[in-house]
Each structure stands twice: as C-alpha cells, then as structure tokens.
C-alpha cells in the first residue's frame, strides 16, 4: 500500500493545502510555501530566533540605564548613593519571588505567547513611568517604576527561555542559549555607549536638567517598544507554526499544577543548585573587581575597569560559539563541569599568584562563563515536559536572584573585614559546591535516567531518528489496521 499517495494533497499546486487527516500524526498541514515560512525548516526557526533575541533586548537595554547615566542622574535629581542603588534594589529584590510567579503564570494561566506580550508591556510601562518620574523629578515614582519594570524584565527572560526551548529542543538549543546570553551583553553594552550621547544630544532643549534626563529615558523606552513588537510577532509566528504542525491538537492540553513543582525530578533542583553556586562566584566578584585589580596589580582605575569588563565582552562573542560546540558534542554535564573547573582555575590564579596577567585570566573567565551558561540552561529542558518549563526556569531564576542579592552583600562584608584572599577562597568554595552538585547530577543521571542528560549529540540524533521511525511505523500500522 502506498500510503504516500494516499496522503499527498489532491490539489498540489495550491498553497497551503489543508489535507484531510487520516491519522493522528497527520494533523499537520502539508506546507507548500517558501522555506522561510515553513515551520519545519531551519530557516524559519532562525527567523523566529531573531525575534526571540530582540524580545528581551529592551529589558537588558533599559535595566542598566541608571549605570550608564549615573553621574548625570545623581546630579540632575540630587541623588544620594543609597537612592541611586535603590533603582537596582527595587528591580532585584522583588524578583527573588516574581520570577517564580511569572514562570508559573506563563505555564498555568497565560501561555507563552500572551505571557511574553504581558511581561513586555510591563517593561514598557515601567520604563515609561521611570522616564516620567525623572521628568517630574519624583524619585519615589521612579522607584515604583523600576519595580514594575522588574516584574516584566525577569519574567520576560523566563518567557524567552521557554520560547527557545519550545522551538529548538532537539535542534541547536545550546547555541540558542549562547546567542541569547550574547544579546543580553550586547544590549547592556549598547546602553553604556549610547545613553550618554542621547542625553547630551538634548542639551539646551529643556529648562530643567531632570526634564532632559526624563526625555533621554523616554527615548530609551523605544527599545521596549521594539521588544513588545517582537513579542507580538513571535506570538503570531508561534501560533501559526503550532497550527501548521498540529502540535496543539496533538498535545494533551496539560497544565502545570502546584503539586507538580514539589514532584520536580531531583535533577531540576540540582541544576538550580549548580546555577546559584556558580553565578554567585562570578557576578559578585566582578562587582568588587575594580578595586581588587587596582590594589593587587597596581592598575589605574581605567585599566582596572577595562580588565573587569573583559568577561562580559568576551562572553558576548564566545557564547554562541561555545553553544554551537556543545550542540555538536552533547554531553552537557561534562561541559558544566568543565566550565566550573575553568572558573576555579581563574579564581585560584587571581588569588594565589601575582605574575599571571589578569587580562588573560579574565578572558578565560569570560569563556568559562559562556561554556557553563550555554550548557546549563538547556539541561532543564531534558528533564521536564514543555508545559512545566516556564515554572522551572522561573524557579531557577528566582533562586539565582536570591543568591546574588545575598552574596553581593556578604562579599562586601568579607572584603572589608578579611580581605581579598579570603574572598577568593570563598568563591572557590562555592565553585567546589557547584562541582559537587554536578557530580551528584551525573550519578543521578546514570542511575535514574540511564545517562539521558549527559548524552552525546550523536546518540541524541540517533534516538530522535529511532523515535521518528517508531512513530511512523506505528502510524503505518494504524493506517493498515
């Protein structure tokens, strides 16, 4: 029986012909249009990827506006250091809890498309209010606005992760995470370089300096409009792809329950542990790094600043590359271990030697951060079904935010009382903890999942092939029955 003849469209010249479904797997629409619009094709995936990247560009761009405009903000609004820091505190501390809630809402209530649109809108409204607060010189309004912006920003990152996994699972997932990491750095860097010129281009147009600041922040909000646009476009593309691929009809329509969270596999909690243990050994170090390089290596402030920002610059370039590499080889757990070990090497060199060049060490740190970030986040998708991913990413992000907020404070205290060597040893201890979690994850993977998480890329491809053949054979059998 030639089932291919049975299932081919009657009117093959028209596009896209809706074919009468003869079996469950044939809910998909036979697609005749251009490759870029074909949801099955890689080109279409990359088109969607470009929108995914710019989805959170606005939030990364606007997140660091206070840092880029620190001197003019402090002057125009007559801010104390505490008031300036509160712009970041109002973003970070609520997000200890909000990321988790946002992820759960995406899974449970909104769905990924509506969720991305809603959180994008929060970012936009938050930034507009922030600009308005600056325009009328009301710092309390700016704080409230940063809180709103924070609700949007972190949950939008969760949405972005969920989109990426949904589109690229089984394809170039690691590289996609690498590219998204890169975009976050690019957004931040563009912000640092562009906001001062924007601010100064408005010189002389306003009577009050805070009005000029407000106007500059309004202009920054255009990046949030761009992100919101991407959210709408992605919603359309995603809905269309699901319709054409019949994925929605095929899914069980399951929604996550609160009780599911407690029953998350141990791997998910281990991944959260690795995430927080690793990130708290990198970001608090960079925030204290400038003075460290000035004191230990006798750099002047400009040199110290340049060395300190090297990991960000390097990771913007190396993340997609490392992601691509990890896609080719698989074995994510090994890569996570490698990233942790490399970072331990960096901290050990900085702590115990004087002679090694800090430039090289910080570049090394950037590369190891890329390796870890590109290999860690996709592991979550191998542990959980699609409808639980938003919540899982939200929880991971929440725990990470909590860890960063607490350890940032603790690091400051350690440095003031016990010096930088003890601080570096502290970070090394956290990295050891990350390695331990990794080892436990590896052992758990072998015993519970038969090595599923740490599979090489070639064996994953083989498995996918086998699964595809199995479903085709089952469908054939169903047809013939």
């Amino acid at each position: 029986m030639d089932s291919a003849e049975e299932t081919s469209p009657l009117l093959s010249n028209q596009s896209p012909a809706l074919n009468a479904p003869t079996g469950d797997h044939n809910n998909e629409v036979e697609y005749q249009g251009c490759a870029a619009c074909n949801p099955r094709s890689a080109l279409h995936r990359y088109l969607a990827l470009s929108f995914m990247c710019f989805l959170s560009f606005g939030s990364y761009f606007c997140y660091d506006n206070p840092s880029a405009l620190q001197d003019v903000m402090t002057e125009d609004l007559s801010l104390t250091t505490a008031q300036y820091s509160s712009f970041y505190a109002w973003y970070s501390w609520p997000n200890v809890v909000l990321s988790m809630i946002g992820g759960y809402l995406i899974d449970r209530l909104f769905g990924i498309r509506l969720g991305a649109i809603i959180f994008s809108s929060f970012c936009l409204v938050g930034q507009l209010l922030f600009a308005f607060g600056a325009f009328i010189n009301k710092v309390w309004l700016m704080d409230a606005a940063r809180f709103l912006f924070g609700i949007g920003g972190e949950s939008l990152a969760v949405a972005q992760n969920t989109y990426a996994t949904s589109w690229f699972r089984g394809h170039e997932l690691n590289m996609v995470f690498g590219i998204q990491l890169s975009m976050s750095r690019i957004g931040s860097t563009v912000n640092m370089n562009v906001m001062q010129p924007i601010y100064h281009s408005l010189d002389g147009r306003f009577s009050q300096p805070w009005q000029q600041l407000g106007a500059a922040l309004f202009l920054a909000a255009f990046s949030c409009i761009l992100s919101l646009g991407c959210a709408f476009i992605l919603a359309y593309i995603d809905r269309r792809a699901k319709r054409l691929l019949g994925a929605d009809a095929g899914s069980t329509g399951e929604k996550i329950q609160l009780s599911d969270i407690i029953r998350f596999p141990a791997a998910v909690w281990l991944l959260c542990g690795i995430c927080v243990a690793y990130y708290v050994s990198v970001f608090p170090f960079i925030s204290l790094g400038q003075v460290f390089f000035e004191r230990k290596f006798n750099f002047n402030p400009n040199e110290a600043d340049a060395v300190n920002s090297l990991p960000y610059i390097v990771s913007a370039i190396s993340s997609p590359v490392c992601g691509f590499l990890i896609d080719r080889t698989g074995r994510n757990i090994m890569w996570v271990m490698l990233g942790s070990l490399m970072t331990m090497g960096c901290h050990a060199c900085l702590a115990f030697t004087f002679n090694l060049s800090p430039y090289g060490i910080m570049i090394w740190l950037g590369v190891s951060y890329s390796i870890l970030a590109a290999s860690l986040w996709p592991l979550v998708s191998y542990c959980l079904p699609n409808h639980m991913l938003g919540t899982a990413y939200g929880i991971m992000q929440s725990i990470q935010n909590l860890g960063l907020a607490v350890i940032n404070q603790v690091s400051g205290l350690i440095v003031d009382s016990k010096g930088y060597l003890i601080l570096e040893v502290f970070f090394l201890a956290w990295l050891c903890l990350a390695l331990i979690f990794c080892a436990v994850l590896y052992l758990w993977d072998i015993s519970k999942l038969g090595g599923e998480l740490n599979k090489s890329a070639s064996s994953r491809r083989k498995d996918a092939e086998l699964a595809k053949q199995a479903t085709e054979a089952a469908a054939k059998a169903a047809d013939e029955a």
Binding site: V415, V425, A439
Partner: protein, 332 residues
Amino acid sequence: MSKFTFAFTNLIEYSDKNDKVEIPTNPVNTTHVYPFSSFLWRLEQAPEILSNGLTQFVLSAYSMMETMAPEVDPATYSVDNAGDEQLAEIFKKNGSSLKLKVQLSPTVGRADDLPQLQFTSNNTQVEFQLKDLFSSVPDARFGVETVLLDGTPDADGMQREQKIEYVLNIDDEFTPGVFRMSNWLSPDSCYAQWKPVCYKAEKRTISNSTVVKHTDLVQLSVGLTEALNNSFAYPLYGGDLLQLTGARAINVTFGIPKDKFYAATNYTVWTVSVGLGQPPADAVSTLVIIVILCGLGLPFLLMSAAVIYLCVRRCRQPAPDGAVSAYQPINA
C-alpha cells in the same frame, strides 16, 4: 650594644599644583617645612597597659603660640624653617592635631587597628596622625621626612648600606586590599616596616585607604643634621652626625592623584613599625589554610571517592563480550 634611631624630622606642607603627589624639588614659596624640633609636645595619654597587653602612650604636638592664638596674616612663606607664627597656622582649626601614638608589646602578636602590623618583642609601632590641619591653599598636601640612623658597623667593621625592599604577599587578611610590605632595612641590624597604605578617615576601611609613597634614600644634609642635633640622636651618637654614613632619609607622601587633596577629609593616619633585627614577615595565616583545606579539600575528597566508586562499579559489572553465549552452536 645595638642602638638605632628612627626620627620624624620635618613635616612638609606643599601645594600640589600638578596633582601628582610629589613634593616639589625646587624651593617654591608654597612649600613650608616645619621641623619637628620646633614643635612642643604634650603627653596626651600617659603610658598605660591596655587590656590586650600592649603598652601605649600618645604624644600630641602643639606650637608655642597656641595658647596665645593671634590672628596671623598669611605672610610670604619661605622654604627655610618656619617661625612660630607659621607653625601656629597649621593648628589654627579647632580640634586640629598632629599625634604620635606609640605601642609596644611584650609578646609576639598583632596590632588591633588596621594595618595590623606584627609585634615582636623587639619593635615599637608608631601611628602618625594628622587631623584637621589648616592650610591656606586648597590643593595642599602634607608629607613627612623620616630618618633611619644606624651607627652599628657590620661584621667587617663597615657601615651598613641601607635599602628599602618590597615584599609581596598573597594574603591580605590582616590589611584588606594591601598585598605589599615595605621594609626599610639597615641589613641585619634594624628596620622600619610599614604597609604602603594610610587611611583618610578615623574609620579604617578599604574605601578610606589610600597610597603611601616615598622618595629614594638620600644621605643626610646639613639642614637635616641641624634638626637631628636638636633631638635625642645627639646624645646617642654625639659629635658630627654628618660623619655618620649609616644614616639615610626619605620623604613620605600620602594620597593619589585626583583624590581632592588633604582637604577632602582633613585626616591622615599612617603606621610604621621600627625595631631591631629582622623585620617580621607575614606568612599565610592559619585561618586561610584551614578555609582552603575545608572549602576545597573536602569537595575534592568527595569527588575522588565518587570517581573511585564509579570505576569500581564499572569494573565489577560482567563484561558484555567474552561472556558465555546463551546460544549453543547447532553445528558443533
């Protein structure tokens, strides 16, 4: 009998026009030199034994004119030793002081305050504090000239060659943010030791710390020996101090460019430790070693155990090939 002298000889006030924290080498009329011999000293705190076993006393400098406190017009200054009127100027502000806090310890230990230099039974620590000194120019900085005098010849009967060496240390536990020690040695005889850090505020933290620099060692000049002749060094060494080849001087400056000069905080405190013999060296402290062993050693032990367990388990599993086949061959 070993003897040596460490002396603060001159307080130097200079206008740092180029913001380079360097005392101008050519005489300029904005540089004032106040010899310590022209200060009067009161014992602000009598010698007492503190609860931590240290003996401590505090000397505070004042000028003869202090009690008279006339309103002195800023006159044209000269580089030569300032008169009492000019000296009174720097103490014009209320609460201004130049203090020396001296601490000794009968045992080996560390000071309580940053930079927490080490005590041996053979050394003394001096904390040099400048508080609220007045200056008529906004870009004024203060420096101090110090002298190390050592008349003890070495084993061959030659005068010792003094030198300043810098010791690097990865452990900044006792002085957070400082990884170097400066040792001014008269080799095998005596030393002055300090960490190249001074503090700009009474609360000593990394953010309040700043750099201490010094000039190269120079021989005593005529002016210096005049100052020393009026000090305790004279009865110790007698005669012509210029003949003493085992004597060197340096100028010590405080601050870095762009830190808004002395007037930013109106406070500087610098600690120097002077003693006989070899300067104590900072070793990596036991706390660091314990933390490293626990923080890194334990996890690696765990990991090694896990790896060994895995290997053993793998070795114990029956080999997939070489096992007896379940099938019997049909054709024998």
